[in-house]
């Protein structure tokens, strides 16, 4: 089995993918930044100086301390503290974690729905295609945020604040995932339409393979490149959507802050001079979204650019 894995690795190192990655400085830098942020988020419980979820570790007396380098800073809180006295570095690490979980989770859900519906619509065609794509059109004609605000508000009203806080993360994944599936479904459908004309699909039909096997084993693997590209961009979009919802108070509660809710919680203090509570998480968000988008751009160039429809 080791020989197989070695040859896979060799194949990868031979590939155009790796070759163009090595030559693209922006891609390498973006990848390294993203990797650092993901690793930091994953290992937040070990890296963060304090646990912002643990009320016992918070001292209100430490509130609104500025970052190191400014007058009145405390070296124990390198990025300063927020209005409740939580260490900003720790909250950002934990917040990035929440944002990334929602981003990836929502895109996984989008991809699952989008791939299934896109494959069905593209491969079966006819009425199935017409119905699924009209649903997608209707879905797309509502803005994601509007749907999310309505659904979020209804949930919040019916479950109450406390309960909402517990299920918020799943709620956000669900809302953003369901609202954006047509993006992926359309991309998948477009490339399925191109793939299903190719002779290897006819060859599979001639063999007598069933529809499911042809769709998932033969066509799906050949549509993965565009899915991969659009999924990357969608992660960035999902993170932004989450941040926007949280900023509006319909997202993550302040007890379990995401980057969006951190920005919101600090926003009230920007007038009082505590700009860092908002600005630093904001910068982190911008950098995170930027590197994902840059990677997405690079992926789109490397993989089949024709099939990309954003």
């Amino acid at each position: 089995m080791t020989t197989a894995t070695v040859s896979r690795w060799d194949r990868f190192r031979e590939s155009f993918f790796w070759y163009s990655f090595k030559r693209d400085k922006v891609a390498i830098l973006s990848f390294l930044v993203l990797l650092t942020m993901v690793l930091a988020a994953v290992f937040a419980p070990w890296l963060a100086p304090t646990n912002p979820y643990d009320l016992a570790q918070i001292d209100i007396m430490n509130s609104e301390l500025p970052p190191v380098g400014m007058a009145g800073a405390d070296p124990a809180f390198p990025l300063g503290t927020d209005a409740q006295g939580r260490d900003l570095l720790s909250t950002i690490l934990y917040g990035t974690r929440v944002s990334l979980v929602i981003g990836f989770g929502a895109v996984l859900l989008q991809a699952a729905l989008g791939i299934l519906f896109g494959l069905l619509a593209g491969y079966l065609g006819g009425k199935v295609d017409a119905i699924l794509m009209r649903i997608a059109d209707v879905q797309l004609s509502f803005s994601t945020l509007m749907v999310a605000i309505i659904v979020g508000a209804v949930f919040k009203a019916s479950f109450g604040n406390l309960m909402f806080g517990e299920i918020a993360i799943y709620m956000l994944i669900f809302i953003i995932g369901v609202a954006e599936w047509p993006q992926i479904a359309r991309t998948v459908r477009a490339s399925v339409l191109a793939e299903k004309k190719k002779e290897y699909v006819d060859a599979a039909k001639v063999m007598g393979f069933g529809t499911g096997r042809i769709m998932f084993r033969h066509i799906l693997p050949n549509t993965l490149s565009p899915i991969f590209v659009i999924a990357t961009v969608q992660i960035a979009n999902a993170i932004i959507s989450e941040a926007a919802l949280s900023f509006l108070g319909l997202g993550m509660p302040e007890t379990q802050p995401s980057l969006g809710s951190l920005i919101k919680s600090g926003f009230d203090y920007i007038q009082s001079g505590s700009w860092w509570i908002t600005l630093i998480p904001g910068l982190v968000l911008v950098v995170l979204v930027l590197v994902i988008n840059l990677l997405g751009d690079w992926l789109r160039d490397v993989m089949n650019p024709r099939l990309y429809k954003g």
């Binding site: 001639v206 063999m207 007598g208 693997p221």
Partner: protein
């Protein structure tokens, strides 16, 4: 004579061009009309493929030869007519009932660059059909079979872990042939299997197909636009023009005494090494579109022997004394 292995009866296929109902409605001369347009790809084809023979279907682009192949294989359902395999009607079979025929009938495609799944290794490509059609076989039996077919088409079995794009066009076509042979078929439809290949490779692939026919007693339906190839390959030849068979004969008879004016023109148009100048029979005009079929004989617009009857009446495929079957009024009347 024994019963044919495959028999095609009254086959017709129209492809609708006009789209949905809304797109069909046009506004003409002051009122709305519903207009339907269709490509008449096949217009009444009867063919029998005898066991052990290689029946070649020849014609130029748009003559419906590929549509015949795809309809026989069930990739397209016919608009009218029937297809029988070994006495059983197969064009209306579905699901489980069709499965045995999916194994007994196989197909080789034109474009070796598109007919192999780019995300599957050669081993996977060849194993999948065997596992599917012989679910009781052990892993070792499947591996042996793959080994055997790869060897029989001249591809080193050690290359199984490679992907299709790592092979040359000729090698890919060999792999495609191996895939068809893997399930032990009796009948193979080859749709222009060599037209995407270089001349030197064409010969190899044709020889391979002939070897396979000999050692596995296969029956072929061979679709091609290249008459020159047919002379080596075919037992019998059917020449098609605009969705109809215009001449059907033993290969040798057809090349020795082509009867239909279109066959004659087609034969004369092949550039030969001996020629110092093009010396083809000049035809008038070009092939009409299969959207608006000419009335009567489909060839009458370009035929130097056409008369009033040709413009009016569709000629039937009639046996001549030479054993050739020709659909031509001029031949029937003895004018040609």
């Amino acid at each position: 004579m024994t019963s044919p292995l495959v028999s095609i009866r009254g086959l017709e296929k129209r492809f609708d061009l006009s789209g949905g109902l809304l797109e069909q409605i046009t506004f003409e001369k002051g009122r709305f009309r519903r207009r339907q347009e269709a490509v008449h790809a096949i217009n009444g084809v009867d063919l029998d493929v005898q066991r052990g023979e290689a029946l070649c279907v020849v014609g130029e682009s748009g003559c419906g030869k590929s549509t015949v192949a795809r309809t026989v294989m069930g990739l397209i359902s016919p608009s009218a007519g029937e297809i029988h395999y070994d006495g059983q009607r197969i064009d209306n079979l579905e699901g489980k009932a069709a499965l045995p025929y999916r194994r007994r009938m196989q197909m080789i495609f034109q474009n070796p660059y598109a007919s192999l799944n780019p995300r599957m290794t050669i081993q996977q490509t060849l194993e999948e059909p065997i596992r599917f059609h012989f679910p009781t076989w052990s892993a070792a039996e499947v591996r042996d079979k793959v080994h055997e077919v790869m060897q029989s088409v001249g591809i080193d079995p050690d290359w199984g872990s490679r992907f299709g794009h790592e092979f040359s066009g000729g090698q890919r076509q060999r792999i495609a042939i191996a895939r068809a042979l893997a399930v032990d078929p009796e009948f193979i439809v080859a749709d222009e299997p060599i037209s995407a290949l270089d001349v030197s490779i064409q010969a190899q692939v044709l020889n391979l197909l002939m070897d396979a026919q000999e050692s596995r007693s296969l029956t072929y339906l061979f679709i091609t636009h290249d008459l020159a190839v047919v002379e080596h390959f075919g037992t019998r030849v059917a020449v098609m023009y605009l969705g109809r068979v215009c001449e059907l004969a033993d290969t040798r008879t057809l090349f020795a005494t082509p009867r239909h004016p279109y066959t004659q023109a087609l034969l004369s148009a092949i550039p030969k090494l001996e020629d110092d100048r093009p010396n083809h029979i000049r035809l008038q005009g070009e092939v009409p579109t299969p959207v608006n079929l000419p009335s009567g004989c489909v060839f009458h617009g370009r035929c130097p022997y056409a008369n009033e009857r040709c413009r009016r009446e569709v000629p039937k495929l009639i046996a001549t004394d030479g054993g050739t079957r020709v659909a031509c009024h001029a031949v029937e009347e003895g004018r040609l």
